[in-house]
């Protein structure tokens, strides 16, 4: 512990040196911006700025790139809350209740809670990263294909709880998402599937165009289809900060989101995206008023926004502790290290203490910077809502097209966004939820890969999922969730969800008393 503190002091000495500070600040600002721009997410932002970091030293470069990564998680919530356009894929869940809050005139509190939740999660998860990185990274490695398959299946089962409407509807939407996720070159055999000779579809359908289309474009289409223009919401100053009730409703979701996000972040994959879905489902499940979800429940903003921030620190655990990437973003950051002659590996913490502790300390500093940056901006952003719709919506469409195009420089992506916009419009007219589609598209390639890898390892035997303890436990939990979500279908019991929620709450309270 003393050693950790000494190292941390050393780290702060690096993080607070003027050059490192400037780049940490620059990273945070750029991150906030790429987070806000629809389409351009942290991966695109980091990739675009990677060449610019070649001139810096390794520590400064990683500090800046990490700043972009967690900065994007702050920025991503802004457009989700104000305009129902996910600034990046991890903010999809924030769209639902964040935007509903905006429609009720509570945009300010939603933005403030998102920023504060992000800050708490960001800081707490850095503590986790600092104290637990080596043992947690070793745990993450024990996740092989079978464990991963079980985890993703569990994630899908969580869907049943995510939906506000009917379970069959949301499961069918998830199935549609999974099917869309099948497009592209088969990762195990190399066959092309559903790509109809379009080379760009070989990599499959990107999450970004799907999310922006289903959420943003469909919202614009729906608004245009209304007989009466929605009134421009004029925010009042006293409505900027959250009320006492909103605070109380956010405390636990932030705490749970932080822990969940960190744990999910460690596991390889697009963790920050999945963590926000899981957090939303959990909050909905634990809420005393699950019916408020989708209608502007502050917990539906606080949880996911905390989770995606905390997942970013989690994702850095395997990278810093072992030198293995836990997803595409840490992979790019590892390339940045290699350019500077630092080989990412298990000895990094010992061989490059200034890098490890400098980055850790800069993340504490960066989160403070982001909070200071974002809270006053709440007032500015909220005033964007004063812009009349005939001006704002075309502008948003332009930004969406530019942002989606910029990620891969691909017109195919823009078309996908347009098609998804139309699809989203139709589905919402028929009262389907679109979030499960996004989750399906995120999960499908990972689920397929890990399932088939597991079967390749076991020579086709499914027992591999039940003989490994972690996998079996998670599958068991998923099965229980599935049975519970099917119960109303079988028993036709009315409002089972609320009853179950209350029951859970009372057991929780009992546990707290103990």
């Amino acid at each position: 512990m003393v050693e950790t503190l000494q190292n941390l002091t050393h780290g702060f000495a690096i993080a607070l040196s003027p050059t490192v500070m400037v780049y940490a600040f620059a990273g945070c600002v750029i991150g906030t911006l790429v987070g806000m721009l629809p389409g351009v997410g942290p991966l695109a932002g980091i990739s675009l700025l990677l060449p610019a970091s070649y001139g810096l030293n390794a520590t400064t470069a990683i500090v800046m790139l990490a700043g972009i990564y967690y900065g994007a998680m702050y920025g991503g919530s802004t457009t989700s809350i104000l305009m129902r356009i996910p600034g990046e894929a991890a903010s999809v869940m924030t769209c639902i209740d964040g935007y509903a809050m905006t429609r009720k005139g509570r945009a300010g509190p939603a933005l403030a809670i998102a920023a504060i939740g992000s800050y708490i999660a960001g800081t707490a998860s850095v503590v986790g990263l600092m104290l637990l990185a080596p043992p947690l990274a070793a745990f993450a490695l024990s996740f092989g294909p079978p464990e991963y398959t079980a985890l993703l299946l569990l994630g899908l089962m969580v869907l049943a709880y995510m939906s506000g409407g009917s379970v069959p509807k949301s499961l069918s939407m998830a199935a549609l998402g999974l099917l869309l996720g099948m497009i592209g070159i088969d990762p195990m055999t190399g066959y092309s599937r559903f790509s109809y000779g379009v080379v760009e579809l070989g990599d499959g359908i990107g999450i970004v165009p799907v999310a922006v289309g289903l959420f943003g474009v469909s919202e614009i289409l729906l608004t245009a289809g209304q007989a009466e223009m929605p009134k421009v919401i004029k925010p009042k100053l006293r409505d900027l900060m959250p009320s006492r009730q909103e605070w109380n409703d956010s405390v636990w979701p932030i705490g749970r989101g932080t822990v969940l996000g960190f744990l999910i972040g460690i596991v390889p994959g697009s963790a920050h995206i999945i963590s926000s879905f899981v957090s939303y489902a959990v909050e909905r499940r634990l809420s005393k008023h699950p019916e408020q979800f989708g209608q502007g429940a502050v917990a539906g903003v606080a949880g996911p926004e905390s989770a995606n921030n905390s997942a970013t620190s989690g994702a850095l655990v395997p990278m810093l502790a072992l030198g293995v990437p836990s997803g595409p973003i840490p992979a790019v950051m590892m390339a940045a290290m290699m350019v500077h002659g630092v080989s990412p590996g298990p000895m990094l913490i010992h061989q490059q203490p200034e890098l490890f502790w400098g980055v850790i300390a800069s993340m504490y500093v960066g989160n403070v910077v982001l909070l200071v940056l974002n809270l006053p901006l709440v007032g500015v952003f909220v005033n964007l809502l004063r812009i009349p719709y005939p001006i704002m919506y075309p502008a948003i469409l332009v930004f969406s097209v530019v942002g989606v195009y910029a990620v891969n420089g691909s017109v195919v992506d823009v078309w996908i966004m347009a098609v998804m916009g139309a699809l989203g419009y139709l589905l919402r007219k028929f009262d389907f939820e679109t979030a499960p589609i996004v989750l399906g598209v995120v999960l499908a390639p990972m689920l397929e890969m890990s399932l088939r890898q597991s079967l390749a390892l076991s020579s086709g035997s499914y027992t591999v999922f039940f003989t490994r303890p972690i996998a079996a436990t998670m599958l068991g939990a998923g099965l229980v969730l599935l049975l519970f979500s099917l119960r109303p279908l079988l028993a036709k019991g009315a409002d089972w969800r609320q009853r179950f929620g209350l029951q859970e709450e009372s057991t929780l309270e009992k546990e707290e008393e103990k």
């Binding site: 990739s47 675009l48 990677l50 060449p51 070649y54 490695l141 024990s142 996740f143 092989g144 294909p145 070159i185 990762p187 195990m188 055999t189 190399g190 066959y191 092309s192 000779g197 080379v199 760009e200 579809l201 070989g202 990599d203 390889p268 395997p318 072992l322 030198g323 293995v324 990437p325 992979a331 790019v332 590892m334 390339a335 940045a336 290699m338 350019v339 500077h340 002659g341 080989s343 990412p344 590996g345 298990p346 000895m347 891969n408 420089g409 691909s410 390639p445 890969m449 088939r452 890898q453 390749a456 390892l457 020579s459």
Partner: protein, 323 residues
């Protein structure tokens, strides 16, 4: 019919114009397309090359990442570009794999190899064969014996089906006459994670990626695919020394679209030759722990032909995977 001398004028003008073009070349920025995202091997090779070329040409050389479909998007983009020397390609060994895989699946090829001509080979890194350190095999011989005892009992991870790391392993598997279980991952990083987590037994990998894990005692190297030993692991035998006639490199080379005028090609070749001597370039490559392996166009063409043939054979041998 009498040839009118004047009729030849346009031809002469054209020839002159080309010569002038070559002399002035480049008059605008040159783009080097990296068909993989920033931070990937092609990108990491392209950037130091571009900045060294820039110094020599005194004209901007820009790296453009055109990604998608395992590099096919960027490669077909350059293959179909105007052959004027302003659009070049930094490609990896996979340039020879994609058209073969397309052939295997009767797909309309994204590009064909004869649409591109080599400028120079920049780097070639022999892959290293590693196993988990907690497994009992101390040599390739012991590994092969065990694999013969249990066909498909031992497993390896790779960067993806028909990917470079898969191909390297396939060469060994074929030469040794053994059968291993192949578990493809989406990229070299996840493939490394799989062996570190103990989910597979073996891996072929670029040396720089596995050396930290060899030093920390997690992985044990058994052989290297190069024709000579590598400096970082001097005790490690080559497969050739062990009696397997196989060689495999993860290489990176610069290509131009076919039809690029000879004078411009010459200028490009001269520029790259000088660029690879640049101190800053050498320094950048040393940091990336990637050996420079310069070959001028004619020798590179030979190297490429041999490499492509070997990969084509390997792909045919693997064939379509039926499940």
């Amino acid at each position: 019919m009498r040839t009118r001398p004047l009729a030849l004028l346009p031809l002469l003008a054209l020839a002159l114009a080309t010569a002038v073009q070559a002399q002035d070349f480049p008059t605008r920025p040159i783009n080097i397309v990296a068909p993989f995202p920033p931070g990937g091997q092609a990108d990491l090779m392209a950037r130091p090359t571009a900045s060294a070329m820039e110094k020599i040409l005194k004209s901007p050389v820009v790296v453009v990442n055109k990604t998608g479909a395992a590099g096919a998007v960027g490669m077909s983009f350059v293959a179909n570009s105007k052959p004027d020397g302003y659009t070049l390609l930094m490609a990896l060994s996979s340039i020879s794999i994609i058209p073969e895989a397309d052939k295997l699946f009767d797909r309309k090829p994204a590009y064909t190899m004869d649409q591109l001509i080599p400028v120079a080979l920049v780097s070639a890194d022999p892959t290293v064969f590693v196993v988990r350190a907690d497994r009992p095999w101390k040599s390739v011989k012991e590994f092969v014996e065990e694999a013969k005892k249990r066909p498909e009992g031992l497993s390896y991870s790779s960067s993806g089906i028909y990917g470079t790391l898969h191909m390297a392993m396939e060469l060994f598997v074929n030469a040794a006459g053994i059968k291993l279980k192949h578990v493809p991952y989406s990229g070299a990083g996840p493939a490394l994670t799989a062996i570190l987590g103990g989910h597979v037994d073996a891996l072929a990998s670029a040396p720089a990626v596995v050396i930290p894990h060899i030093k920390s005692g997690k992985l044990r190297p058994l052989a290297v695919w190069g024709d000579k030993r590598i400096a970082a692991l001097p005790d490690l035998p080559t497969f050739k020394e062990l009696g397997y006639d196989i060689e495999f490199y993860i290489w990176a080379g610069l290509f131009a679209p076919k039809g690029t005028p000879e004078p411009i090609m010459k200028k490009l070749r001269d520029t790259v030759r000088a660029a690879l001597q640049d101190a800053e370039f050498k320094n950048a490559m040393a940091k990336l722990e990637t050996p420079i392996a310069y070959l001028d166009a004619p020798e590179f063409q030979k190297f490429w032909d041999k490499d492509a043939k070997m990969l084509a054979d390997a792909i045919k041998r693997v064939g379509k995977i039926e499940e």
